[in-house]
Amino acid sequence: MIKTDALIIGAGPTGLFCAHQLGIIGLKCEIVDNLDKIGGQCIELYPDKPIYDIPAIPECTGEELTNNLIEQIKPFNINFHLSDRVQEIKKEKENWRVKTLNGKEFLTPNIVIAGGVGSFEPRKFPTKSADKFDGKTVLYSIKDKTIFRDKSVVIFGGGDSALDWAIELSKSSKVTLIHRRDEFRGAQSSVDKVKELQKNNKLEIFTKYSIKDVKGNGKLESVEIKDDDGNSKLISADYVLGFFGLIMQLGPILDWGLNIDKKTIPVNTETFETNKQGIFAIGDICTYPGKLKLILSGFHEGALAARGCFKYARPDEKLRFEFTTTSKAVQNRLGLKND
Protein backbone atom coordinates (compact mmCIF):
# COMPACT_ATOMS: atom_id res chain seq x y z
CA MET A 1 0.00 0.00 0.00
CA ILE A 2 1.34 3.40 -1.02
CA LYS A 3 0.76 6.43 1.19
CA THR A 4 0.85 9.74 -0.57
CA ASP A 5 -0.40 13.32 -0.20
CA ALA A 6 -2.36 13.22 -3.43
CA LEU A 7 -3.26 10.70 -6.09
CA ILE A 8 -3.72 12.11 -9.57
CA ILE A 9 -5.88 10.20 -12.02
CA GLY A 10 -4.74 11.01 -15.53
CA ALA A 11 -1.28 11.75 -16.90
CA GLY A 12 -2.36 14.34 -19.45
CA PRO A 13 -1.04 17.90 -19.41
CA THR A 14 -3.42 18.96 -16.65
CA GLY A 15 -2.49 16.09 -14.34
CA LEU A 16 1.22 16.61 -15.02
CA PHE A 17 1.13 20.30 -14.23
CA CYS A 18 -0.93 19.69 -11.10
CA ALA A 19 1.83 17.30 -10.01
CA HIS A 20 4.28 20.14 -10.55
CA GLN A 21 2.23 22.49 -8.45
CA LEU A 22 1.91 19.90 -5.67
CA GLY A 23 5.68 19.49 -5.76
CA ILE A 24 6.23 23.22 -5.55
CA ILE A 25 4.22 23.45 -2.33
CA GLY A 26 6.01 20.43 -0.89
CA LEU A 27 3.42 17.69 -1.37
CA LYS A 28 4.06 14.22 -2.78
CA CYS A 29 1.86 12.64 -5.38
CA GLU A 30 1.44 9.52 -7.51
CA ILE A 31 -0.13 9.41 -10.96
CA VAL A 32 -2.28 6.62 -12.42
CA ASP A 33 -3.19 6.44 -16.11
CA ASN A 34 -4.70 3.62 -18.10
CA LEU A 35 -2.69 4.39 -21.22
CA ASP A 36 0.74 2.79 -21.46
CA LYS A 37 2.37 6.18 -21.89
CA ILE A 38 2.38 9.64 -20.36
CA GLY A 39 0.54 12.50 -22.11
CA GLY A 40 -3.17 11.71 -22.26
CA GLN A 41 -5.07 13.03 -25.27
CA CYS A 42 -2.00 15.03 -26.35
CA ILE A 43 -0.04 11.86 -26.94
CA GLU A 44 -2.86 9.52 -27.92
CA LEU A 45 -4.98 11.73 -30.17
CA TYR A 46 -2.67 14.38 -31.57
CA PRO A 47 1.04 13.77 -30.86
CA ASP A 48 2.05 15.40 -34.16
CA LYS A 49 -0.55 18.14 -34.38
CA PRO A 50 0.71 21.61 -33.54
CA ILE A 51 -0.95 23.46 -30.67
CA TYR A 52 -0.91 27.26 -30.88
CA ASP A 53 -2.52 28.42 -27.66
CA ILE A 54 -0.16 27.44 -24.88
CA PRO A 55 0.89 30.72 -23.21
CA ALA A 56 4.44 31.76 -24.15
CA ILE A 57 4.84 28.78 -26.50
CA PRO A 58 3.89 30.00 -29.99
CA GLU A 59 3.76 26.48 -31.40
CA CYS A 60 4.38 22.97 -30.14
CA THR A 61 3.05 19.49 -30.83
CA GLY A 62 1.20 17.35 -28.33
CA GLU A 63 4.31 15.24 -27.94
CA GLU A 64 6.60 18.23 -27.37
CA LEU A 65 4.22 19.66 -24.79
CA THR A 66 4.18 16.32 -22.98
CA ASN A 67 7.96 15.99 -23.04
CA ASN A 68 8.39 19.50 -21.68
CA LEU A 69 5.97 18.83 -18.84
CA ILE A 70 7.77 15.58 -17.98
CA GLU A 71 11.03 17.56 -17.90
CA GLN A 72 9.44 20.20 -15.71
CA ILE A 73 8.33 17.72 -13.04
CA LYS A 74 11.57 15.72 -13.02
CA PRO A 75 12.84 17.32 -9.78
CA PHE A 76 9.90 15.80 -7.90
CA ASN A 77 10.59 12.16 -8.88
CA ILE A 78 6.95 11.37 -9.33
CA ASN A 79 5.86 7.74 -9.61
CA PHE A 80 3.69 6.86 -12.58
CA HIS A 81 1.40 3.85 -12.61
CA LEU A 82 0.66 3.36 -16.29
CA SER A 83 -1.62 0.81 -17.99
CA ASP A 84 -3.66 0.81 -14.80
CA ARG A 85 -7.00 2.29 -13.84
CA VAL A 86 -8.41 3.43 -10.54
CA GLN A 87 -11.30 1.14 -9.87
CA GLU A 88 -12.60 1.68 -6.37
CA ILE A 89 -12.35 4.35 -3.71
CA LYS A 90 -13.42 4.18 -0.09
CA LYS A 91 -13.34 6.81 2.64
CA GLU A 92 -11.29 5.80 5.68
CA LYS A 93 -11.30 8.51 8.35
CA GLU A 94 -9.29 11.37 6.85
CA ASN A 95 -8.13 9.35 3.88
CA TRP A 96 -9.31 7.73 0.72
CA ARG A 97 -8.33 4.13 0.15
CA VAL A 98 -7.91 3.68 -3.58
CA LYS A 99 -7.72 0.38 -5.46
CA THR A 100 -6.63 -0.08 -9.06
CA LEU A 101 -7.46 -2.69 -11.64
CA ASN A 102 -3.96 -4.18 -11.29
CA GLY A 103 -4.43 -4.53 -7.55
CA LYS A 104 -2.40 -1.55 -6.35
CA GLU A 105 -3.60 0.28 -3.25
CA PHE A 106 -3.11 3.86 -2.20
CA LEU A 107 -3.97 5.72 0.98
CA THR A 108 -4.29 9.44 0.43
CA PRO A 109 -6.27 12.40 1.73
CA ASN A 110 -6.60 13.81 -1.79
CA ILE A 111 -7.68 12.44 -5.15
CA VAL A 112 -7.30 14.73 -8.13
CA ILE A 113 -9.30 13.58 -11.14
CA ALA A 114 -7.61 14.88 -14.26
CA GLY A 115 -9.18 12.24 -16.44
CA GLY A 116 -10.01 14.26 -19.55
CA VAL A 117 -13.04 12.72 -21.16
CA GLY A 118 -12.45 9.40 -19.48
CA SER A 119 -10.11 6.50 -19.96
CA PHE A 120 -9.26 5.26 -23.41
CA GLU A 121 -10.80 1.91 -24.33
CA PRO A 122 -10.80 0.18 -27.70
CA ARG A 123 -13.97 0.66 -29.72
CA LYS A 124 -15.71 -2.67 -30.11
CA PHE A 125 -17.81 -4.18 -32.88
CA PRO A 126 -21.40 -2.91 -32.87
CA THR A 127 -22.69 -6.45 -33.49
CA LYS A 128 -24.03 -8.09 -30.36
CA SER A 129 -23.03 -11.53 -31.62
CA ALA A 130 -19.36 -10.50 -31.32
CA ASP A 131 -19.67 -10.06 -27.57
CA LYS A 132 -19.84 -13.76 -26.73
CA PHE A 133 -16.41 -14.31 -28.33
CA ASP A 134 -14.94 -11.13 -26.83
CA GLY A 135 -11.50 -11.68 -25.36
CA LYS A 136 -11.23 -15.20 -26.76
CA THR A 137 -11.48 -15.15 -30.54
CA VAL A 138 -12.81 -11.64 -31.08
CA LEU A 139 -9.98 -9.32 -30.04
CA TYR A 140 -9.20 -5.61 -30.02
CA SER A 141 -5.53 -5.84 -29.10
CA ILE A 142 -2.90 -8.52 -29.44
CA LYS A 143 -0.82 -9.81 -26.57
CA ASP A 144 0.49 -13.04 -28.06
CA LYS A 145 0.72 -13.26 -31.82
CA THR A 146 1.66 -16.94 -31.83
CA ILE A 147 -1.98 -17.95 -31.27
CA PHE A 148 -2.73 -16.92 -34.87
CA ARG A 149 -0.23 -19.28 -36.49
CA ASP A 150 -1.84 -21.21 -39.39
CA LYS A 151 -5.26 -19.77 -38.51
CA SER A 152 -7.73 -17.70 -40.52
CA VAL A 153 -7.69 -14.16 -39.19
CA VAL A 154 -10.12 -11.46 -40.28
CA ILE A 155 -8.93 -7.93 -39.49
CA PHE A 156 -11.21 -4.89 -39.55
CA GLY A 157 -9.94 -1.32 -39.73
CA GLY A 158 -8.04 1.13 -41.90
CA GLY A 159 -5.44 2.65 -39.59
CA ASP A 160 -1.89 1.71 -38.70
CA SER A 161 -2.84 -0.98 -36.18
CA ALA A 162 -4.98 -2.82 -38.72
CA LEU A 163 -2.38 -2.52 -41.49
CA ASP A 164 0.62 -3.39 -39.32
CA TRP A 165 -1.05 -6.51 -37.95
CA ALA A 166 -2.31 -7.53 -41.39
CA ILE A 167 1.28 -7.36 -42.67
CA GLU A 168 2.76 -9.12 -39.66
CA LEU A 169 0.18 -11.90 -39.40
CA SER A 170 0.15 -12.56 -43.17
CA LYS A 171 3.54 -14.25 -42.69
CA SER A 172 2.01 -17.24 -40.95
CA SER A 173 -1.78 -16.87 -41.04
CA LYS A 174 -4.52 -16.58 -43.65
CA VAL A 175 -5.37 -12.90 -43.36
CA THR A 176 -8.40 -11.01 -44.67
CA LEU A 177 -8.40 -7.24 -44.23
CA ILE A 178 -11.73 -5.42 -44.28
CA HIS A 179 -12.27 -1.68 -44.29
CA ARG A 180 -15.36 0.47 -44.73
CA ARG A 181 -13.91 2.62 -47.54
CA ASP A 182 -11.25 2.44 -50.27
CA GLU A 183 -8.78 4.74 -48.57
CA PHE A 184 -6.67 3.63 -45.65
CA ARG A 185 -5.58 6.18 -43.10
CA GLY A 186 -2.43 4.31 -42.08
CA ALA A 187 1.10 5.18 -43.22
CA GLN A 188 1.48 5.12 -47.00
CA SER A 189 4.34 2.62 -46.80
CA SER A 190 2.05 0.20 -44.95
CA VAL A 191 -0.76 0.74 -47.44
CA ASP A 192 1.67 -0.02 -50.30
CA LYS A 193 2.91 -3.12 -48.52
CA VAL A 194 -0.58 -4.44 -47.90
CA LYS A 195 -1.51 -3.91 -51.56
CA GLU A 196 1.64 -5.69 -52.66
CA LEU A 197 0.79 -8.63 -50.39
CA GLN A 198 -2.68 -8.68 -51.90
CA LYS A 199 -1.22 -8.80 -55.40
CA ASN A 200 0.94 -11.75 -54.40
CA ASN A 201 -2.06 -13.52 -52.86
CA LYS A 202 -0.56 -13.30 -49.39
CA LEU A 203 -3.68 -11.66 -48.04
CA GLU A 204 -7.16 -10.68 -49.16
CA ILE A 205 -8.67 -7.22 -48.94
CA PHE A 206 -12.34 -6.25 -49.03
CA THR A 207 -13.07 -2.54 -48.95
CA LYS A 208 -16.43 -0.78 -48.62
CA TYR A 209 -17.56 -3.59 -46.33
CA SER A 210 -18.40 -3.56 -42.65
CA ILE A 211 -19.24 -6.26 -40.14
CA LYS A 212 -22.75 -7.69 -40.14
CA ASP A 213 -22.60 -10.75 -37.95
CA VAL A 214 -20.25 -13.12 -36.20
CA LYS A 215 -21.24 -16.75 -36.54
CA GLY A 216 -20.31 -19.85 -34.62
CA ASN A 217 -21.81 -22.17 -32.11
CA GLY A 218 -19.55 -22.05 -29.09
CA LYS A 219 -16.55 -21.74 -31.39
CA LEU A 220 -16.11 -18.88 -33.85
CA GLU A 221 -16.66 -20.12 -37.39
CA SER A 222 -17.17 -17.21 -39.72
CA VAL A 223 -17.85 -13.55 -40.02
CA GLU A 224 -20.49 -12.04 -42.27
CA ILE A 225 -19.74 -8.71 -43.90
CA LYS A 226 -22.02 -6.32 -45.79
CA ASP A 227 -21.52 -3.51 -48.28
CA ASP A 228 -23.47 -0.24 -48.47
CA ASP A 229 -26.09 -1.80 -50.73
CA GLY A 230 -26.76 -4.58 -48.25
CA ASN A 231 -24.99 -7.36 -50.18
CA SER A 232 -23.30 -9.71 -47.79
CA LYS A 233 -20.45 -12.16 -47.88
CA LEU A 234 -19.39 -14.92 -45.51
CA ILE A 235 -15.72 -15.36 -44.60
CA SER A 236 -14.50 -18.25 -42.51
CA ALA A 237 -12.53 -17.14 -39.49
CA ASP A 238 -10.76 -18.55 -36.45
CA TYR A 239 -10.09 -15.05 -35.11
CA VAL A 240 -11.66 -11.65 -35.73
CA LEU A 241 -9.68 -8.54 -34.87
CA GLY A 242 -11.13 -5.02 -34.70
CA PHE A 243 -8.95 -1.89 -34.81
CA PHE A 244 -11.32 1.08 -34.75
CA GLY A 245 -9.28 3.35 -32.54
CA LEU A 246 -10.04 4.27 -28.98
CA ILE A 247 -13.09 5.72 -27.34
CA MET A 248 -13.14 7.53 -24.05
CA GLN A 249 -15.29 6.30 -21.20
CA LEU A 250 -15.73 7.65 -17.70
CA GLY A 251 -15.89 4.12 -16.34
CA PRO A 252 -15.73 3.58 -12.59
CA ILE A 253 -15.65 7.33 -11.82
CA LEU A 254 -19.41 7.24 -12.34
CA ASP A 255 -19.77 4.99 -9.28
CA TRP A 256 -18.06 7.20 -6.72
CA GLY A 257 -21.05 9.30 -5.74
CA LEU A 258 -19.78 12.39 -7.51
CA ASN A 259 -22.19 14.83 -9.07
CA ILE A 260 -22.05 14.31 -12.82
CA ASP A 261 -23.34 16.75 -15.39
CA LYS A 262 -23.17 15.51 -19.01
CA LYS A 263 -20.04 13.41 -18.44
CA THR A 264 -18.36 16.23 -16.52
CA ILE A 265 -17.94 16.86 -12.81
CA PRO A 266 -19.12 20.16 -11.29
CA VAL A 267 -16.51 21.82 -9.04
CA ASN A 268 -16.11 24.98 -7.02
CA THR A 269 -13.73 27.39 -8.68
CA GLU A 270 -11.78 28.21 -5.55
CA THR A 271 -10.17 24.80 -5.04
CA PHE A 272 -11.74 22.65 -7.77
CA GLU A 273 -13.10 20.33 -5.14
CA THR A 274 -16.11 18.23 -6.11
CA ASN A 275 -19.12 17.45 -3.92
CA LYS A 276 -16.91 14.90 -2.12
CA GLN A 277 -14.38 16.19 0.38
CA GLY A 278 -10.82 15.60 -0.77
CA ILE A 279 -11.79 14.76 -4.33
CA PHE A 280 -10.87 17.38 -6.89
CA ALA A 281 -11.53 17.52 -10.61
CA ILE A 282 -9.50 19.52 -13.11
CA GLY A 283 -9.10 19.80 -16.87
CA ASP A 284 -11.64 18.65 -19.44
CA ILE A 285 -13.48 16.52 -16.92
CA CYS A 286 -14.54 19.40 -14.66
CA THR A 287 -17.26 21.93 -15.28
CA TYR A 288 -18.17 25.31 -13.80
CA PRO A 289 -19.68 28.52 -15.17
CA GLY A 290 -17.38 29.81 -17.90
CA LYS A 291 -15.40 26.59 -18.25
CA LEU A 292 -13.15 26.47 -21.31
CA LYS A 293 -11.80 23.12 -22.45
CA LEU A 294 -8.30 24.47 -23.03
CA ILE A 295 -5.00 23.11 -21.79
CA LEU A 296 -4.18 26.50 -20.29
CA SER A 297 -7.36 26.37 -18.21
CA GLY A 298 -6.29 22.94 -16.97
CA PHE A 299 -2.98 24.41 -15.77
CA HIS A 300 -4.78 27.08 -13.78
CA GLU A 301 -7.20 24.55 -12.34
CA GLY A 302 -4.32 22.26 -11.35
CA ALA A 303 -2.53 25.07 -9.54
CA LEU A 304 -5.59 25.85 -7.46
CA ALA A 305 -6.48 22.20 -6.81
CA ALA A 306 -2.94 21.61 -5.51
CA ARG A 307 -3.49 24.38 -2.93
CA GLY A 308 -6.84 22.80 -2.13
CA CYS A 309 -5.06 19.52 -1.39
CA PHE A 310 -2.71 21.18 1.08
CA LYS A 311 -5.23 21.64 3.87
CA TYR A 312 -6.07 17.91 3.93
CA ALA A 313 -2.46 16.76 3.54
CA ARG A 314 -1.05 19.16 6.13
CA PRO A 315 -4.00 20.02 8.39
CA ASP A 316 -1.75 21.56 11.05
CA GLU A 317 0.22 23.78 8.73
CA LYS A 318 -0.58 27.00 6.99
CA LEU A 319 0.28 27.28 3.33
CA ARG A 320 2.50 30.24 2.55
CA PHE A 321 2.31 31.70 -0.88
CA GLU A 322 5.76 31.77 -2.47
CA PHE A 323 7.33 32.55 -5.82
CA THR A 324 9.74 30.20 -7.59
CA THR A 325 11.95 33.19 -8.39
CA THR A 326 12.64 34.09 -4.77
CA SER A 327 11.70 31.29 -2.37
CA LYS A 328 14.63 29.27 -1.08
CA ALA A 329 12.28 26.52 0.08
CA VAL A 330 10.71 26.18 -3.35
CA GLN A 331 14.08 26.26 -5.05
CA ASN A 332 15.27 23.46 -2.77
CA ARG A 333 12.26 21.40 -3.79
CA LEU A 334 13.23 22.04 -7.39
CA GLY A 335 16.71 20.71 -6.59
CA LEU A 336 18.42 24.02 -7.32
CA LYS A 337 21.62 24.83 -5.53
CA ASN A 338 21.50 28.10 -3.65
CA ASP A 339 24.72 30.04 -3.29
Binding site: R185, D228, I247
Partner: protein, 106 residues
Amino acid sequence: MAKITYIEHGGQKHEIEVANGLTVMEGAVQNDIPGIDADCGGSMACATCHVYVKEDWFPKLPNKETGEDDMLDQAYEPKANSRLSCQITVSDELNGLVVHLPEKQV
Protein backbone atom coordinates in the same frame (compact mmCIF):
# COMPACT_ATOMS: atom_id res chain seq x y z
CA MET B 1 -30.14 30.98 -39.56
CA ALA B 2 -31.21 27.49 -40.56
CA LYS B 3 -33.86 25.15 -39.27
CA ILE B 4 -32.22 21.81 -38.60
CA THR B 5 -34.04 18.64 -37.71
CA TYR B 6 -32.20 16.21 -35.47
CA ILE B 7 -33.83 12.79 -35.29
CA GLU B 8 -32.79 10.57 -32.41
CA HIS B 9 -32.22 6.86 -32.99
CA GLY B 10 -35.53 6.13 -31.30
CA GLY B 11 -37.37 8.46 -33.70
CA GLN B 12 -37.75 11.51 -31.43
CA LYS B 13 -37.52 14.67 -33.58
CA HIS B 14 -36.02 18.00 -32.57
CA GLU B 15 -36.47 21.01 -34.86
CA ILE B 16 -34.00 23.70 -33.91
CA GLU B 17 -33.18 27.12 -35.34
CA VAL B 18 -29.40 27.26 -35.42
CA ALA B 19 -27.51 30.51 -35.97
CA ASN B 20 -25.17 30.84 -38.94
CA GLY B 21 -21.55 30.20 -38.09
CA LEU B 22 -22.27 27.59 -35.44
CA THR B 23 -21.71 23.95 -36.32
CA VAL B 24 -24.45 21.35 -36.50
CA MET B 25 -22.79 19.78 -33.44
CA GLU B 26 -22.99 23.05 -31.46
CA GLY B 27 -26.64 23.45 -32.43
CA ALA B 28 -27.33 20.08 -30.80
CA VAL B 29 -25.17 20.54 -27.72
CA GLN B 30 -26.46 24.04 -26.93
CA ASN B 31 -30.02 22.77 -27.13
CA ASP B 32 -29.41 19.68 -25.01
CA ILE B 33 -30.28 17.22 -27.75
CA PRO B 34 -29.36 13.77 -26.51
CA GLY B 35 -27.26 11.58 -28.79
CA ILE B 36 -24.45 13.97 -29.68
CA ASP B 37 -21.58 13.67 -27.21
CA ALA B 38 -18.88 15.81 -28.84
CA ASP B 39 -16.27 14.63 -26.35
CA CYS B 40 -13.38 16.53 -27.92
CA GLY B 41 -15.32 19.77 -28.21
CA GLY B 42 -15.16 20.04 -31.99
CA SER B 43 -11.46 19.60 -32.69
CA MET B 44 -12.05 16.55 -34.92
CA ALA B 45 -10.13 14.41 -32.45
CA CYS B 46 -12.93 11.96 -31.66
CA ALA B 47 -15.97 10.63 -33.46
CA THR B 48 -18.70 11.24 -30.92
CA CYS B 49 -20.70 13.89 -32.83
CA HIS B 50 -21.32 11.43 -35.64
CA VAL B 51 -24.57 11.87 -37.61
CA TYR B 52 -26.19 10.31 -40.66
CA VAL B 53 -27.16 13.05 -43.08
CA LYS B 54 -30.51 12.50 -44.83
CA GLU B 55 -29.69 11.07 -48.27
CA ASP B 56 -30.94 14.01 -50.36
CA TRP B 57 -29.01 16.45 -48.20
CA PHE B 58 -25.70 14.61 -48.19
CA PRO B 59 -24.46 15.78 -51.63
CA LYS B 60 -25.55 19.36 -50.91
CA LEU B 61 -23.23 19.76 -47.95
CA PRO B 62 -19.72 21.17 -48.33
CA ASN B 63 -17.17 18.37 -48.77
CA LYS B 64 -15.67 16.55 -45.84
CA GLU B 65 -12.69 18.12 -44.16
CA THR B 66 -9.28 16.48 -44.49
CA GLY B 67 -9.08 13.86 -41.81
CA GLU B 68 -12.81 13.69 -41.24
CA ASP B 69 -13.11 10.27 -42.87
CA ASP B 70 -10.18 9.05 -40.78
CA MET B 71 -12.14 9.91 -37.66
CA LEU B 72 -15.34 8.45 -39.09
CA ASP B 73 -13.50 5.13 -39.46
CA GLN B 74 -13.51 5.14 -35.68
CA ALA B 75 -17.17 6.05 -35.27
CA TYR B 76 -19.95 3.71 -34.17
CA GLU B 77 -21.42 2.10 -37.31
CA PRO B 78 -20.34 4.59 -39.97
CA LYS B 79 -22.25 4.53 -43.26
CA ALA B 80 -21.89 6.21 -46.65
CA ASN B 81 -23.90 9.23 -45.43
CA SER B 82 -21.97 9.63 -42.19
CA ARG B 83 -20.51 13.01 -41.20
CA LEU B 84 -19.02 14.55 -38.10
CA SER B 85 -21.50 17.25 -37.15
CA CYS B 86 -18.70 19.45 -35.77
CA GLN B 87 -17.40 19.84 -39.31
CA ILE B 88 -20.67 21.12 -40.80
CA THR B 89 -20.97 24.88 -40.41
CA VAL B 90 -24.49 26.26 -40.43
CA SER B 91 -25.51 28.81 -43.09
CA ASP B 92 -28.79 29.88 -44.69
CA GLU B 93 -28.22 27.24 -47.38
CA LEU B 94 -28.62 24.51 -44.74
CA ASN B 95 -32.20 25.54 -43.90
CA GLY B 96 -34.24 22.33 -43.70
CA LEU B 97 -31.27 20.00 -43.11
CA VAL B 98 -32.20 16.68 -41.54
CA VAL B 99 -29.70 14.54 -39.64
CA HIS B 100 -30.27 11.19 -37.99
CA LEU B 101 -28.38 10.34 -34.82
CA PRO B 102 -26.74 6.93 -34.48
CA GLU B 103 -27.83 4.40 -31.87
CA LYS B 104 -24.89 5.53 -29.76
CA GLN B 105 -21.67 7.48 -30.01
CA VAL B 106 -19.32 5.40 -27.85
